[in-house]
Symmetry: C2
Subunit: 319 residues, 2 copies
C-alpha cells in the first residue's frame, strides 16, 4: 500500500507518494492557484495525484489514504479549515469531506506546523520518540506537540500554538493575534528584527548593522551573520532571542516533557550558534528532574517535513 500526501503552501504545493513506512518514493511540486477564492487548489492536487499515478504506474487502488497539510487553523476532528488567508480560503472549508468525495479515499488534514512536527517525529530529529515538541521559527513561530505518540490538538484546536506563548512580560511588541508579548514577537524572523531596533535604540551599541538599522532595512539573517562574525551588538540580540526560546522550552519541559525539542524553520538555520545559546540558558532555568535526557536539536527534514508528516497522519489514523 502507498500513501499520498500534500503540503499545501501559498505559492506551491509539495506532493508526494510515500510508502507505509513514510519513505518518499516520488515527489514533485505544482503551483498553488489562489485565484477564485482558491477553489481550484484541491482539484489541482487530486488531478496531479491521478496523473502521476498513471505516469509512474501506481495503482490508485493501492492508496491507503491521503494526508494534507494546510496553512491555516484546522479543526482536526471535523477536517475543516477556518480561513486560510494564504490560500484565499474564507469561512469554513470542509477540506476532508471535499477531498474524500474527490478521491474516494480516507483523508486526514492538519495545520502546517503540526504535520511538520509529525514528520520530524517519525523520520527526522524526533527519532520516533513518543514525546516530541517542534518549534518552527520563520516569519512567525509555529509549534507542534506530540505526547504519548499523538499530536495534541486540545479541545478547540489551540494545542501547540506555541507562537502565542507569552514570554515577554514587558509586552514590548504587538503580535498579529492582537496581544503583546507572544513568543512570535521575539523569536521569529520578525522577532529578531523587533529586538534589533529595540536594543539599538536603548543601548546605542556600536555595530556593523548600524547602516541597515538607520535605513530600517534589517533582516534576521543579517543579524545572525553579524553575530557569527563577532559583532557584539548582534550577539547580544541573538542571546536575547535564545533566552526567550530557552524560557519557553523550560516550561514545555515541565508540561509535556518531550525527549526532543526540535527547532526548525528559517531562523533555525543559524543552527549550532543559536542552539548553543538556548542550551546554556535552558540548563540554568529548568526544573532539574526535567533536564535528564532532554535534548534540544535542529530539524532534519527541511522542506520535506510537512509532506512526510501529512502522510504520517494516514499511518497514524487509518487502520
Amino acid at each position: 500500500m502507498i500513501i499520498l500526501a500534500a503540503d499545501i503552501g501559498g505559492t506551491t504545493c509539495k506532493l508526494g507518494v510515500l510508502s507505509e513506512e513514510l519513505t518518499i518514493l516520488h515527489k514533485w511540486e505544482i503551483p498553488t492557484q489562489t485565484g477564485q477564492e482558491g477553489e481550484r487548489i484541491l482539484r489541482d492536487i487530486y488531478e496531479s495525484f491521478k496523473k502521476n499515478a498513471a505516469h509512474k504506474h501506481y495503482d490508485m487502488d493501492e492508496v491507503l489514504g491521503i494526508g494534507l497539510g494546510v496553512p491555516g487553523p484546522v479543526d482536526f476532528d471535523k477536517g475543516t479549515v477556518n480561513g486560510a488567508i494564504n490560500l484565499n480560503w474564507s469561512g469554513v472549508k470542509h477540506v476532508k469531506d471535499e477531498f474524500e468525495k474527490l478521491s474516494g479515499k480516507p483523508v486526514f488534514i492538519d495545520n502546517d506546523a503540526n504535520v511538520a512536527t509529525l514528520g520530524e517525529k517519525f523520520k527526522g530529529a524526533g527519532q520516533n520518540e513518543a514525546n516530541v515538541v517542534c518549534l518552527t521559527l520563520g516569519t512567525g513561530v509555529g509549534g507542534g506537540i506530540i505526547a504519548n505518540n499523538e499530536l495534541v490538538h486540545g479541545h478547540n484546536g489551540s494545542g501547540g500554538e506555541l507562537g502565542h506563548f507569552k514570554v515577554d512580560q514587558k509586552e514590548r511588541f504587538q503580535c498579529n493575534c492582537g496581544l503583546k508579548g507572544c513568543l512570535e514577537t521575539v523569536a521569529s524572523a520578525t522577532g529578531v528584527i523587533n529586538l534589533t531596533y529595540h536594543y539599538y535604540k536603548e543601548l546605542q551599541f556600536k555595530t556593523s548593522l548600524e547602516e541597515a538599522i538607520q535605513a530600517k532595512e534589517v533582516q534576521a539573517k543579517m543579524v545572525f551573520d553579524a553575530a557569527k562574525d563577532g559583532d557584539e551588538f548582534a550577539t547580544y540580540v541573538i542571546r536575547k532571542v535564545a533566552s526567550h526560546l530557552a524560557y519557553a522550552i523550560s516550561v514545555i519541559s515541565v508540561m509535556t516533557n518531550p525527549k526532543y525539542i526540535i527547532i526548525g524553520g528559517g531562523v533555525s538555520k543559524a543552527g549550532h550558534f543559536l542552539i548553543q545559546h538556548i542550551e546554556t540558558e535552558y540548563q540554568k532555568m529548568t526544573f532539574k528532574p526535567a533536564l535528564k535526557g532532554t535534548q534540544i536539536v535542529t530539524a532534519e527534514l527541511g522542506n520535506d517535513a510537512g509532506m512526510i508528516g501529512a502522510a504520517g497522519l494516514i499511518k497514524q489514523y487509518v487502520k
Copy 2:
C-alpha cells in the same frame, strides 16, 4: 468485575472498592505505618483489601486490577517510585512488581497529583473530557495533564510538573527544587504566605493581618478570610496569587489546550473568590482562539479524587 484502589498518604491510606464505571462501592482508611523504612505499607494495604473482601463478600477473583496513588516521583512505565519522603521510602522501590507479586493482579501506580487529575477527569469537574488539566494548590502545587484522554508523563516523568512552571520572573522566593520563581513559590499555601510578607514589607499597607505578620504567624487561610472580609491588603495579595495562576493557565491553554482547568487542593477552598480573580486576568492575557469554551473550575471530588483516579488507571490500562 471490580477495581481495588488505594490513595497512599503519609498519615493514612484511603482504600476503596470500585465498579468498572468507577463508582465507589465501599471505602475505608488505614493508618500508614512509615516505620522500618515504610516496608509494611504495601503489605498492610494488601491485607486490608483481603480482609475487607471477605467481610463484604467480594470475591478476589472478580478483581480486574489494583491502582495505587503514591506521594513521590513515579516512573509510570516501570511502576517504580524513586524516594517517597513522606512514606520513608528511599531509593528506587518497585511498587508495581511488589504489589503484583502480593496480589497476583495487574497493578498500575502513579503519583498523587496525576491520579487526582484522572479522578476529576472521569467522575468530577473534568466531565470526562479528553483534554483536562488539574492544578492542586496545597502546601505545594501539584499538576496533572490529560491530553487525548491520556495522562501526560513525558519522557522522564516530569510531564505535568506544573508546580515548577517558572512564573515569577523576579525570582523572589526559593523553591524546594533548588530554583527560584516556581509557581509553587507564589500560588501554594506557602506562596500566599511568601507574598503576604513580601508585599507587607514593600507596601506598608494597613491590614487586619498586621499582628500575624509581625508575629510571623501568617497562614494562607487567614489571608483568604481577610480578603473575603474586604481587607484591601489581603485582596491585593490574593490578586497577585490569582494573576500568577492566570498566567500559568493562559500558557497551558496554548500548549495542551484543555477544556477544563480544574483548581483543587486546600487553597482552592477559597473557591469562587479566587476563581473569579483568575478568570478576569486569564481573559485579558490569553490567545483569543484558545479562550473559546475553556472553563476554569474548582475540583469536585475532594479527598476521593485520588482513589477514584487510581482505580481509573485500571479502567484505562487493563484491557
